[in-house]
Amino acid sequence: MRYLPLTDADRREMLGVIGARSVDELFRDVPESARLGAKIAGLPDHQGELEVERAFQAYAAKNLSPASVPFFIGAGAYRHHVPATVDYMIQRGEFLTSYTPYQPEITQGTLQYLFEFQTQITMLTGMDVANASMYDGSTGTSEAVLMANRVTRRHKALVSGGLHPQYRRIIETAAKWEGFVAVVGKPDVEGLEDLIAAVDKETSCVVVQNPSFFGHVRDFAKLAAACHAAGALLIVVVTEVVSLGLITPPGEMGADIVVCEGQSIGNGLGFGGPYVGLFATREKYMRQMPGRLVGETVDADGKRGFVLTLSTREQHIRREKATSNICTNAGLCALAFTVHLTLLGEAGFRRLAEINHAKASELADRVAAIPGVKLLNESFFNEFTVRLPKPAAPVVEALAARRILGGLPVSRLIPNDPSVENLLLLAATETATEYGMGPLVAALKEVL
C-alpha cells in the first residue's frame, strides 16, 4: 500500500514497545458483537494509481464537458477563465495540506492571505468588515438571516422572489427547524417586486439578490432606508461576484450584510462545490458575525503578524452560545479567489466585468431577435431571462442532444409553476465566443 509507511517489522517492533501481542488487543474496548474479523465485504481491494485514474476517466467520459461545447448556463454558478497561476498556487503543499491556522507562528501564510482576502471582500462589497469565508453563497445567506435575527432580536425574514430558488429553500429550511418566520415572495420574473410596504416592526431582515436570479439589476437604496426606519437589516446577496466590477456595490446602497457566492473568481464550476461564501457587514455588527476572522497584531518582537481573532463568537470557545456552529470554512477556495483577484487587480477586474456585460448584451440581442422569443430584462449584467413560445425544459434537452448547453430552464428550480414554465435563463461570460453563440442561436431557431 503506497500510502502506508509501516512495514510488518515496524508493526511488530511497535507492538513490542506497547506490550501488546497483536493489533486486535488495541481494539479490545470495541464490544465483541461489533468487531469485524475480516475486512468489510462488498468493496474492492486496493488499486494502483493507473487503475484508479482509469476509473475516473470512465466517469468523466459519461459527462459532457462545458469546455467542449457551446455553453450558456449560470444560475448561481458561472464559467469563467481561471488563470493557470491560480491552480498552481493552491496546489502548493504548504497551503493545500495545512490545517486551520490555530498556531499563528507557523501559519502566517494562511493568515496573511485571509487578511488580504477579507480586505478584498470589503472593497468589492463596499462594506466595513468581512470574514475569512463561508462554505458557499447559499449557506452564507442562511447564516446572514440568523445573524440579522440575533442583531434585531426579531424573527421574521422577508425573502425576495428574486433570490435564487435554492437559496430561498435553504432559508425556509432554517426557518422551519431553527424557529423563525420566512415570508417568501413569488418568483420575481419581471424584476418589479417592491418589498418596502411589507417591512414592519417585526421584520428582522429583507433578503434580496442583485442582479436577481432572473438577471435584473436593482437599486436597493430606498429599500435599505425603509429597513433602517423599521429597525430591520437589509441583506444583499450577489451570486455573480464579477458583477461587482461594474455595478454599484451593495454597501453604497445601504446594505447591512452582503453575502456573495465567490465561485466565479478563482474557482471552477466543479459540479456545484466546493465554492466559497463571501460574508461582509458593518463594523457595528462585527461581533455578531459567524465564521472565522483574521486580525492584525504584533509578535513578541513587535513585528506585524496575523491571528484568528474574536474567537469568543465561535463554537470551540462559546459552545452552545456561539454565533454559529460553523468550523471548517472554504480556506483554499478563498486562496484561489484572492490569487485570481490579485492577478486581475483593479484594471483587470473592471475589464473582465465589462467584457461579461458586452458578451451578454450581444447574446441577449441575438436571442431576442429569434421569432417568438421575448427578452424579459430591461437591465442585466451577464445573465438574463427569455420567454420562449413553449416549455423551456424540453428545449434545453433538445439543445443538449445537439451538444449545446443552452441555459437553464427555470422550471428545473421552480417546478409546478406554469408562470415560469416557458422561461429560459441564459448567461454569457468572457468565455462565450461566436463559435458558441452562432450555433446556440441557430439551434434555438430549429427547435422552437
Binding site: 500510502y3 508493526r11 488499486q47 495540506t97 507557523i106 466543479g270 466546493p274 490579485t342
Partner: protein
C-alpha cells in the same frame, strides 16, 4: 513600494531589544524567511496580471447603476503574484513537511492522485445545473461514493450535501427533529445530551435548533458514565450526541448499552464521526446502534484541509431517519441516473434543503479516489496503523509525560499537564517549544475535561523512523521542562518560526480586520532604514 521589513506597519509595538532573535540583516529577511508586505502595499496602477481584450462598446443595461469610483484593488504583474504567494506559503507548516499531530484533526497524507482526478475535464468543469442527461457519470460517481460510505458504516442511507462536519451535524439533528415531529413529539423532546468532552460544534448545533444541551459526566476511565446517562434519559430527551471513539481518544466500551438505553427512552443516537479514522474498515457504526453520523471526508478520507477548508460532511442515516434526509439525492431509474432536487415534485422529505446544488463534488471525487486506492483491505490496515501509531506514541512517552487515562487508546493519545507541575512550563509553552523543534504542536487544551490537555494524533501516515525522531524531541522537551530551570526558555519559544508569539489580546481588544490606506506607513527605503 512600501516594505514590511520593518517592525510593524499597521500595528505599532515595542521591540524586544537585545534578544537573540532581533533581526540582524539589513532587509529583515533571514535567508529563506522573507518578510512579505500585503498586496495592497505592493501594487502600482498600470500593472496587471492578466491580458484581457478591449471590451466591445455596448450600451449599458445596468439600470443606471454603473459603479463609480475606484474599488481600491492593487495592480500586480503575474511574477509578483507568484512570488508573493510563494513567499507566504513558506511561512506555513503543512502535512507535506512532516509530522502534524493535531489531535481530532486527522492530518494524514493527502495523495496527489486525488487532486489530479478531481480536475479531469468532464469532472472538475461540470456545471451543477447541466441537463442530467449530460452528467450521468458525475451522478454515478456520487452514488458510488455513497455506496462506499454506507458499506463502511453499515448504514442504509446517506445524505451527501452537507459541506463540512458541523453542517453534517446540522443535517443529522434536523433529521432527528423531523422524525420527532412525525411522531408528534418534537415539542416535548427538547433536551440533547452531550458529554462534557464533546466538540464545541455539538452543543452549538443543538442550541441552534432550539434544543437545550445537558452535559453528561464522564467516569474515571474517560468514558460516558452510563448510570448518569440512564438517569438523564427521559421523555424530554430528543437525542444524545456522542463522539466515538471519543475526544479523549477512547472507544466508548459501553456503546451498545448506551444506544440501547437511548432507544428505549425514545431518543436518537447522533454519532459525531470526526474520529471515524480509528475504526473505518474495522467497526461499522451501524452495528453500534447509531442513528446518524457525519463523516468528515477531509479527515478520514484525506481530502486536504486547505488551511481551514473546504471539507465535506455526508451524513449516514439509520432506517429510522432515512426518510428525513434533505434534498438532493441521486436515484436510478432503470439505466438512467436522476437527481431528486425539487421539494414540490418528489414526495418525500419534510427536512428541506441545506445547500445549493449537489454537495461538495470536488471532495467526493478526492475521497472516492482515496477509498479506491486503499480498498477494503487498505482502509482496515490504515485504521490499524493509526491506532498502532497512537498507542506507540503513548507507550514511548508515558514515563516522561502524563497520560490522561490508562490505555489502550484508539487513534490519538491524550496527555494532561501534570508532568509539567511546578516546572513553570504550561501546555502552551510546551507546544510553542515544539515549533522550534520543527513540529506542528499537538491539539492543546482540548478536550476540556482534561487539565492542560495535549492530544496527539500521529495518523497512519508517518514512518516509524519519523515517529521516533518526533518522540525523541518530545522526550527531550519533557526532560528539559522537568529540570525546573527552563521556564523562561519555554516562555520565549518559538524563536525560529517566521513570527514569535503573537499578541492575541491586542488583536481582540482593538480589532483590525482589513488593510486600510491609513494603516500604511509612509514610503520607506528598507535598506536605508535598516542601516540607520
Amino acid at each position: 513600494m512600501a516594505s514590511s521589513q520593518d517592525r510593524s506597519q499597521g500595528r505599532s509595538g515595542g521591540i524586544v531589544s537585545g534578544g537573540a532573535t532581533e533581526a540582524v540583516t539589513f532587509t529583515g529577511n533571514r535567508a529563506l524567511q522573507i518578510e512579505e508586505p500585503l498586496i495592497f502595499e505592493m501594487g502600482q496602477p498600470g500593472r496587471c496580471g492578466v491580458d484581457l481584450p478591449e471590451p466591445p462598446k455596448v450600451k449599458d443595461r445596468l439600470n443606471g447603476l454603473r459603479r463609480s469610483g475606484d474599488i481600491g484593488l492593487p495592480g500586480l504583474s503575474e511574477p509578483q503574484v507568484v512570488q508573493h504567494y510563494t513567499r507566504l506559503s513558506q511561512k506555513n507548516y503543512a502535512i507535506d513537511m512532516g509530522v502534524y499531530p493535531l489531535g481530532s484533526c486527522t492530518m494524514k497524507h493527502n495523495p496527489r492522485l486525488n487532486e489530479k482526478v478531481a480536475r479531469l475535464p468532464g469532472i472538475g468543469d461540470l456545471h451543477p445545473l447541466q441537463p442530467v442527461s449530460t452528467v450521468q457519470g458525475a451522478l454515478e460517481l456520487i452514488d458510488r461514493l455513497a455506496h462506499w460510505l454506507k458499506t463502511l458504516t453499515g448504514m442504509p442511507a446517506v445524505a451527501m450535501s452537507p459541506a463540512a462536519g458541523a453542517h453534517g451535524e446540522m443535517c443529522g439533528m434536523m433529521a432527528i427533529a423531523a422524525a420527532l415531529e412525525a411522531r408528534g413529539e418534537r415539542a416535548q423532546r427538547k433536551v440533547v445530551l452531550a458529554p462534557e468532552s464533546a466538540h464545541g460544534t455539538n452543543p452549538a448545533t443543538a442550541a441552534a435548533l432550539g434544543f437545550t444541551v445537558k452535559p453528561i459526566p464522564a467516569n474515571e476511565t474517560g468514558r460516558v458514565d452510563l448510570a448518569a446517562l440512564k438517569a438523564a434519559l427521559g421523555p424530554d430527551v430528543a437525542a444524545i450526541m456522542l463522539t466515538n471513539p471519543n475526544t479523549c481518544g477512547l472507544f466508548e466500551s459501553e456503546i451498545v448499552e448506551i444506544s440501547t438505553a437511548v432507544h428505549a427512552a425514545g431518543a436518537y443516537f447522533y454519532c459525531d464521526g470526526a474520529n471515524f479514522n480509528a475504526i473505518a474498515g474495522r467497526v461499522r457504526p451501524g452495528d453500534l446502534g447509531v442513528d446518524c453520523m457525519h463523516i468528515n471526508l477531509h479527515k478520514t478520507f484525506s481530502t486536504p484541509h486547505g488551511g481551514g477548508g473546504p471539507g465535506a460532511g455526508p451524513v449516514v442515516l439509520s432506517a429510522a431517519l432515512a426518510p428525513y434526509a434533505p434534498y438532493p439525492w441521486i436515484v436510478k431509474d432503470g439505466e438512467t441516473w436522476r437527481v431528486a432536487e425539487d421539494d414540490a415534485k418528489v414526495a418525500g422529505t419534510p427536512l428541506g434543503r441545506l445547500k445549493a446544488f449537489h454537495g461538495q463534488m470536488g471532495m467526493f471525487t478526492r475521497a472516492l479516489a482515496y477509498m479506491m486506492s486503499h480498498g477494503a483491505d487498505g482502509l482496515k490496515q490504515a485504521s490499524e496503523d493509526a491506532v498502532l501509531s497512537a498507542n506507540y506514541v503513548m507507550a514511548a512517552l508515558k514515563d516522561v509525560m502524563s497520560p490522561a487515562f490508562d490505555g489502550p487508546c484508539m487513534h490519538e493519545a491524550l496527555f494532561d499537564d501534570s508532568f509539567l507541575k511546578d516546572t513553570g512550563v504550561s501546555t502552551l509553552d510546551f507546544a510553542k517549544a515544539m515549533i522550534d523543534e520543527g513540529y506542528h504542536p499537538m491539539t492543546m487544551y482540548f478536550p476540556l475535561v482534561v487539565h492542560g490537555a495535549m492530544l496527539i494524533e500521529p495518523t497512519e501516515s508517518q514512518a516509524k523512523e519519523d515517529l521516533d525522531l518526533f518522540l525523541g524531541a518530545l522526550r527531550s522537551l519533557a526532560a528539559k521542562a522537568k529540570t525546573g530551570t527552563a521556564a523562561e526558555a519555554f516562555k520565549a519559544a518559538p524563536l525560529y518560526a517566521p513570527r514569535r508569539r503573537l499578541d492575541e489580546t491586542l488583536a481582540a481588544r482593538k480589532p483590525i480586520l482589513r488593510w486600510k490606506p491609513s494603516n500604511n506607513p509612509p514610503e520607506t527605503d528598507p535598506v536605508k532604514q535598516a542601516a540607520e
